[in-house]
Symmetry: C2
Subunit: 192 residues, 2 copies
């Protein structure tokens, strides 16, 4: 389990045994059951989540309706905006599956960053990379139609279509479940 994490980190920085042990001593690995809600609207938290196994979802409740805006799967991490802005959360985070997560909190990160500058470099690189990736996702969302977005999703994250209920996928694509259903039928139609 730790190996998965350290393999991932080794792509960015080289850690000594001491540093690895320092991470492990923080007791950040957690098994979380499907359906668990990690964060609720209005709640204050300092926790970040990193998925080693499973899938978590971020969603808003607007006019009583769930609006899913993000899914995080293996080797993806989420620091809720409310952790950065130090305000109550605007959304929910819940577990789609039984998960193995790394849960860290920002106090902890500040402490570790102070002790090992290498971690600060790691955090900077990860943030910058994530920022660039998210920028591209946003641009692609803006410049394409719902149908094209769905086709892109099939290309880029085919697993999601299997793991996740259609109505959540729909709002992830910025449309209603009925429209996704119709759009899928339309695509099948075209293929034949």
């Amino acid at each position: 389990m730790q190996d998965i994490l350290f393999d991932f980190l080794s792509k960015y920085i080289t850690l000594t045994e001491e540093e690895k042990n320092s991470i492990l001593s923080l007791d950040i690995f957690h098994s979380i059951k499907k359906g668990t809600i990690l964060l609720k609207e209005g709640q204050r938290t300092k926790e970040s989540y990193f998925v080693l196994k499973g899938c978590i979802r971020a969603y808003y409740v607007i006019d009583g309706e769930e609006k899913t805006t993000a899914f995080y799967t293996e080797m993806e991490g989420l620091t809720p905006p409310c952790v950065i802005s130090k305000t109550p959360s605007e959304y929910y985070v819940s577990c789609m599956e039984d998960n193995i997560l790394i849960i860290s909190n920002s106090d902890m990160e500040v402490a570790v960053n102070g002790k090992f500058p290498k971690f600060e470099t790691l955090c900077r690189i990860l943030s910058e990379e994530l920022l660039a990736k998210q920028r591209i996702d946003f641009d692609s969302f803006k410049t394409s139609s719902p149908e094209q977005r769905y086709l892109n999703l099939i290309q880029n994250r085919p697993d999601l279509i299997q793991r996740v209920p259609q109505h959540q996928l729909a709002s992830y694509l910025g449309i209603k479940p009925q429209s996704l259903s119709r759009l899928r039928a339309r695509i099948l139609e075209k293929k034949s």
Copy 2:
């Protein structure tokens, strides 16, 4: 001019005179004429841009059509994804107005980060903050209609509506210029 920058930075970290001079010696301030294209599709670059005065725009050319995805105005900065991924750029960046920009390049940043750990902290904090802000923008885009997006824009960046041509605003909102025109007429209709 330098003061604008250091005032901004002072919100995040405290710099010594030595550190300030070290920044100034890099010769990063540039006056750039309206219409200048800072980055073209296919081009490789290591440059980041930070707007002290003016407005720059990022846009794709898809099927011969410009698709504007972002505007950056005073105290906003852009590191093109291609700088992070070290690949040719997928989009263009151009100047909407006569600008005063800070142009830095990533080699320079690596050097400064190595010399002053404080800069690394600054970069990390700015990236994390920007990531959170952009996440919220993306979520809000996904969960709202074109009309609502336009109303949000009036609330959040009223200056843009004045400074920027409608047809560029339209693609920024994910729609066609004609739709924006119609949508504006519809809103006026409702008000009366």
